[in-house]
Structures are given as structure tokens and as C-alpha cells.
Amino acid sequence: MSLLLRTEQLVAGWQQPATQQLDLTVAAGEIVGLTGPNGVGKSTLLAAFAGRAKVFSGRIEQAAGLRVALQTQDVPPVVGLPLSGRELLALTGAAAVGLPAWLADRLDIRLDKLSGGQRHYLTLWAILQAPADLVLLDEPTNNLDVAGVAHLTEHLRDRAAAGAGLLVVSHDTAFVDAVCDRVIALGGNDVG
């Protein structure tokens, strides 16, 4: 398996360091979980991998030409916007094939007319299925019911089997245990 992402003693943050040192690798076809208590800097690390947060020390290495997709906990601002699910998928280049039945037949409805769970899953799917080699997910099970989590688990495995590397930040230990090949638990000392 080729290495997509590697960090060495990485410390990231915004105005000041917000994480402890981290050594991490994610290879193609691998699903790596990142867990830990609130404030330990899990989301900050994803932001650093996406080039948004600041690297204070250590290093991040990415495979040449790596295509990265990032799902954050921020809800895309679609309320009040006449944007259908089909148009959303077209924006990111995501395919609708594989969507659960409870969403597949609702693609032509505008996003702010869907339930919170349906909207979350569709906005997550648009990132998951976007053309990318490395997919970074931040608390993807938020707002999902049991059926949604089960479908997501299945789909992440399919995505990894197709060659993508996935890094998943989650508080949901059952989900992380079920879907991840490796789990890295960050320490509880908040440095942020």
C-alpha cells in the first residue's frame, strides 16, 4: 500500500499550539481512526492536514499530487438556498450511485427541505464521493440514525477497497471500532 500522508512529531494549532505531538501514517486503502476527549485537537489536526491550521513544529508529508477532501463539522450553508441534492453532488463531482434508498429518491428536493439527518448524510456523501485520494472526516456520524451509521460504515469500507485512504475523527467508539483498520487515541491533556 502506498503512503498518502505521514506526520512526524506534528504540533498544530491556530494562534497557538493546540495539539500534542503526533506521529501518523495513512496509506491508500486504509481507514485510520483518531479519537480522544474534547479539546485535544482532533479537528485542528484535520485542519492542518488540509492546510488550514498552522503547523508549529514537526512536519506533514503528503504524496505528490495528492487529492484531499475534507468534511468538517461546519454545516454547509444551504438553508434558504435553492440547491437540490443532485446539484450538490454535481458541484463536488460525487456520484449518486450507492446512496441509501431513503436518499436516492429525494435527490431532486432542495436541501433545506430535507430532514437534518438526510441533509447531513447528503452533504457528507458529496465529500465522501468527491474525486479524492485521501478523505478526512470530522465526526461523520453526528445527526445520523442507526441506518445512516450502518450505511456509512459499509460505504467507507467500499471507498477504502477502491483505493482511497480515510482518516476519521469520531467520538463514536463503536463506529470507530467497526470501521477503522487502526485507531490512534490522542491523550487527554488539553494544550490548546
Binding site: 477532501a69 475534507l70 431532486d108
Partner: protein, 254 residues
């Protein structure tokens, strides 16, 4: 009433009634609809300043609005939350009113720019609107996927390494020039009415983005044609009649 006399004004306004609601949809997408009002006021001040300097007012309006559009991005970080647009609006309004109040030759043009002077539009207004409108619509069509992606998924937009300037400074400049063109014919508030109300109504009802654009243009065209005929029939200024019609439509739908 001569048909020929009103053909050029009608066509000039018709072009703007197609362009402005489309532009308004993208301004609304970006939560920048207040910028439209700001650009119109700055364009009015620029036109009046140009008149006093012996430069064609249309060029002055376009130049001032272009400067505002291009410069807006420079202060975007320091003047967040719409503060930049509010300052532009107030500055443009104050400049225009002061110029009109202190220079007799600017007073008449000032009234025309704020009330709208569509019925006096000739070929010198029609051609810039026709050519500029087509170019602007083509540019908007090309920018549309990036404007939408940058709004809905800003991180993915950045991660894909897409250049930001076309959807930031480029879009601001385009919007400013379109509003300046419109202000010269429709007046400040007539232009704002077409850029704000049809997209606002369309966003409430449309099932998707494409139908939102179509609804906005359809509402704008119907309001424009009715307002044009009504204002002529009642011998009233066009801008306020258009605004009243659109406000009534807005209240009805809301």
C-alpha cells in the same frame, strides 16, 4: 405616443431586467446583496464627479464603481459582517448628495440618477447594456460552479487549488460594473429593486438553483414590463413604480 420613441429605453431596461436578477442570485448566494446598493451609490457619486470634471458621467460612474469593486476585497478582512458595504453605501450616498447640492449642473443629473432616467435612454445606453450584459451573463455562467462550490464547500474549493481571484475580486468587479451600468438608466433604487427582490422571491420558491435563476428572471421581466407600461400610462417616474410593484409582489408572496 411614438413606439420608436420608447423602443430604445424599453430594450435598455429589458436587458437590465434579465441581467440584474441573475447577478442578484449570486450576490444573494454570497450574502452580499448590500454591496449592490453600495455600488449603485458609488456609481452615482462617480458620475456626478465626472460631470463636474468635464468627463462623460457614464465613464465616471463605471470608473468609480470599478474602483469600489476592485478595492472592496482589500478591506474585506478588516471590514467584515457587511461593514465594508455599509461604509461604501454611505460614502457614495454622501458624496453624490453633496456634489448635487453644491453644483447646480450636477443637481439635475443627481435627481436623474436617484430617480432613474430610463425613458431618456438612447443608443449610447442600449449598446453598453446589450454588450456588457451578454458578456456579464457569459462570465457568470462560467463562474457559477466555482461560486457555488466556494460558498457551500470552501475547504474543498481551497483543497482543489482553484484560484480564488475570479470569484472574489473578479466577481466584485463584475458586480460593480453591472450595477454602474444599471444605475445610469434605471437609477439607484430601480437597479437595486431588480437585483434584490426577484432573487429573494425566487430563492423562497425554487426547487433548485437553475429554476431559481429562471424564476428570478421571469419575476423581473414581468415586473419590468408591467412597470414600464404603468409608469408611461400614469405619467410617473419608472423607478418608483417598478419598486412598488416588486414590493407588492414580495409582500404577497411573503
Amino acid at each position: 405616443m411614438s413606439v420608436e420613441l420608447f423602443l430604445l429605453p424599453f430594450l435598455t431596461g429589458l436587458g437590465l431586467a434579465i441581467l440584474l436578477p441573475v447577478l442578484g442570485c449570486y450576490l444573494r448566494l454570497r450574502d452580499e446583496w448590500l454591496a449592490a446598493l453600495a455600488y449603485s451609490h458609488v456609481a452615482a457619486a462617480g458620475a456626478l464627479g465626472a460631470l463636474l470634471a468635464g468627463i462623460p458621467p457614464g465613464l465616471g460612474g463605471l470608473g468609480a464603481a470599478a474602483l469600489a469593486g476592485a478595492g472592496r476585497r482589500l478591506f474585506a478582512r478588516r471590514l467584515s459582517g457587511g461593514a465594508g458595504d455599509a461604509l461604501l453605501l454611505l460614502g457614495g450616498w454622501a458624496g453624490a448628495i453633496l456634489l448635487a447640492a453644491n453644483a447646480p449642473m450636477a443637481e439635475r443629473l443627481g435627481h436623474a440618477l436617484f430617480d432613474g432616467q430610463l425613458y431618456f435612454a438612447g443608443s449610447e445606453q442600449l449598446w453598453p447594456v446589450a454588450i456588457g450584459g451578454i458578456v456579464a451573463l457569459l462570465v457568470l455562467r462560467a463562474l457559477a460552479p466555482r461560486l457555488l462550490l466556494a460558498r457551500v464547500y470552501p475547504d474543498l474549493f481551497r483543497l482543489r487549488g482553484l484560484p480564488a481571484w475570479p470569484i472574489q475580486a473578479g466577481f466584485d468587479l463584475l458586480a460593480a460594473l453591472c450595477l454602474a451600468l444599471a444605475t445610469m438608466s434605471l437609477g439607484v433604487m430601480g437597479a437595486f429593486a431588480l437585483v434584490f427582490i426577484p432573487p429573494w422571491l425566487a430563492f423562497r420558491r425554487a426547487a433548485n438553483w437553475r429554476s431559481g435563476l429562471r424564476w428570478a428572471v421571469a419575476i423581473s421581466l414581468v415586473a419590468y414590463v408591467v412597470a414600464f407600461a404603468l409608469a408611461l400610462w400614469l405619467d410617473q417616474p419608472f423607478g418608483p413604480v417598478l419598486a412598488v410593484l416588486l414590493v407588492l409582489a414580495g409582500l404577497l408572496v411573503a
